[in-house]
């Protein structure tokens, strides 16, 4: 699994809190699709998150199952289109996976099994981890190594949402 702890060394239990993990997904060379990875880099700099395992999930999909196991709560950061306006940040609680899947949200990053399939699989495997997805609707997912200015501006808001979510 792609696991970026601060010294870039992967360990299973190298953080204080074991109840919660934060994972960013995306391709950092597809413009706003890289928001999840960019946020992870920002969180790594912040003292607030020093006890929490934060993971650069890249463009993996099925591996979410391994991260989610043995964890009470997981916060996923991703570019996601739920029909909201471009740049709008949303916080989805996946209490009911069936309901989430029915809504046909378009997550843009998981490239092997898509997010809906991975969530179905998680449910079928009876993994009961609480899941929150903090997403932003991208402006562009064309090839490029920079976020759109509209998305870049929302980084503080996304981090603020993550902070709130870690204490819920």
């Amino acid at each position: 699994m792609t696991n970026t702890s601060r010294n870039n060394v992967s360990k299973d239990h190298d953080h204080g809190r074991t109840d919660i993990k934060i994972i960013g997904f995306g391709n950092k060379f597809r413009s706003d699709d890289g928001i999840g990875i960019r946020i992870i880099k920002e969180l790594e700099k912040l003292e607030f998150f020093k006890d929490i395992e934060i993971i650069d999930g890249g463009t993996s999909g099925t591996d979410l199952i391994f991260w989610i196991k043995n964890c009470e709560k997981i916060i996923i950061i991703d570019a996601i289109d739920t029909g909201q306006n471009t740049g709008d940040v949303i916080n989805i609680k996946v209490d009911d996976i069936e309901e989430f899947i029915k809504k046909d949200y378009k997550s843009l990053s998981l490239h092997d099994l898509n997010l809906a399939d991975v969530l179905k699989l998680i449910k079928a495997l009876k993994i009961n981890t609480r899941i929150s997805i903090i997403g932003i609707k991208p402006k562009s997912i064309d090839f490029g190594d920079k976020l759109s200015p509209e998305i870049e501006r929302k980084i503080p808001k996304i981090i603020s949402e993550i902070k709130k979510e870690t204490s819920r």
Partner: protein, 433 residues
């Protein structure tokens, strides 16, 4: 039975990325067959230009989450060739070891999660949790084992960071090597169970002989390094790939199609199996025999069985590599070699899980990329997929529309296309059967 059919499968599910398949059948004859790939701009090639020699492999690693070790290694090999760098034998052994496990990661995902649902006659992996929980659990255990192998050696399970031009930034410890060997040994019981399940699969009895191209080595079942070999009887140095492998633009796709001795060729697990069967371990050959896979095999649906056989080979060969590395002892002084920038061109050719992957870089005397070209395996297979489809449809023409669609989708999935390496969307359209 239908006479006319107009089908668009859009998008094809359970393949990496997206694309279109359009089939137009009139009076039971195929009038139009288009496997259309809307390829994105050659962004990554352009992105390499101007980069210092230590950057391209990290960029390449992000091209795809499934083939990140392959892109990393192809990139590193191209750079090392261009700059005249010879890594230590220890580095080569560790690269071969990590390389095996990206192949395992990818093959597991494809065999168990993406292709198996077809052969079990269910729509996706989800129903398998209820009907075949053993299979799903084996898949997850094997994927986790391969993830851990790549993480221990590469620093991350995907997008590895320790594998760099000149060697490794950090080496695994001997304790970690022993742990990895134990993990590998523990995996065999799962393969025995998988074997009994795979034997029950109903694999279509379709055959079409084509040209099979892979890398090849005098000793290894080549994945990390070798010359380029064709089943049509030629073998060339990997630096000279342009002598044989040609690319052309086709009207119906913005993706280039490739050809060599004929108008199409196949790359991937089945091509490797056909060309390098005698380099497989005895154990892997035994599994192949049990599953009815013999070289040469001309059934593209058997690509999935070849992928499973490769998992066995990779586990067997990894244990051998670990024993060798431990016997030599891990030497930190051999982790990196000195790098002196210079002008030159280098080609890095590896076997990505889906087949031949080529990175071709030209550096200036300051050690910065002046030109980059990449050819991905899925791009090489496009033309062959179309040829297979052309031959397959007449054999299923008397079936229902749904069955024809499924056969076509299964064929495409059997190739395990990783369209996300080069493109974004895949759809399938069947017109006027």
């Amino acid at each position: 039975m239908v006479k006319n059919l107009n089908v668009e499968i859009s998008p094809i599910s359970r393949v990496e990325g997206h694309g279109d398949l359009i089939i137009n059948i009139k009076d039971k004859k195929v009038e139009q067959l288009t496997f259309r790939i809307p390829e994105s701009p050659r962004f990554f090639e352009a992105m390499m230009v101007g980069r210092k020699y230590d950057e391209p492999s990290h960029i390449a690693s992000r091209i795809c989450g499934i083939c990140s070790v392959a892109h990393t290694c192809a990139s590193i090999k191209a750079t090392e060739k261009a700059l005249g760098i010879t890594p230590s034998p220890q580095t080569i052994s560790l690269r071969k070891l990590v390389y095996h496990h990206e192949n395992v990661q990818s093959n597991v995902l494809h065999v168990y999660f993406l292709a198996a649902p077809d052969f079990f006659g269910v729509g996706s992996v989800i129903p398998l949790v209820e009907t075949h929980p053993d299979v799903v659990n084996i898949a997850l255990r094997t994927k986790k084992m391969a993830n851990d192998m790549v993480r221990i050696i590469g620093g991350r399970a995907i997008h590895p960071i320790r594998i760099v031009v000149g060697g490794f930034t950090k080496l695994p410890t001997e304790e970690e090597m022993v742990k990895m060997k134990e993990m590998l040994q523990a995996s065999y019981q799962d393969f025995e169970k998988t074997l009994s399940v795979l034997k029950t699969l109903n694999i279509p009895a379709f055959e079409r002989e084509t040209e099979y191209i892979s890398i090849s080595d005098a000793v290894d079942y080549a994945l990390y390094d070798g010359s380029i070999k064709s089943s049509d009887g030629w073998e060339i140095d990997d630096q000279n790939y342009l002598d044989k492998i040609k690319e052309k633009i086709v009207r119906h796709s913005t993706s280039k199609h490739c050809w060599a001795s004929r108008d199409a060729f196949m790359v991937g697990a089945l091509a490797r199996f056909n060309n390098n069967y005698d380099k497989l371990t005895d154990n892997a050959r035994k599994y192949a025999e049990e599953l009815g896979l013999k070289a040469p095999c001309y059934n593209p649906f058997m690509n999935n069985i070849a992928q499973f056989v490769e998992i066995i080979h990779s586990v067997d060969d990894s244990i051998r590599l670990i024993d060798e590395i431990l016997e030599e002892g891990i030497d930190k002084d051999k982790a990196m070699v000195d790098i002196v920038p210079k002008a030159g061109r280098g080609v890095g050719v590896v076997e990505a899980p889906r087949g031949l992957l080529i990175h071709d870089y030209t550096y200036n005397d300051r050690g910065r990329v002046e030109k980059a070209n990449m050819i991905i395996p899925t791009g090489m297979n496009y033309a062959n997929i179309e040829k297979d489809m052309d031959a397959l449809i007449p054999t299923v023409i008397d079936k229902s529309e749904d069955e024809i669609k499924l056969s076509c989708e299964m064929l495409i999935r059997a190739y395990d296309p990783c369209i996300s390496c080069s493109t974004h969307f895949l759809n399938v359209k069947l017109i006027n059967k």
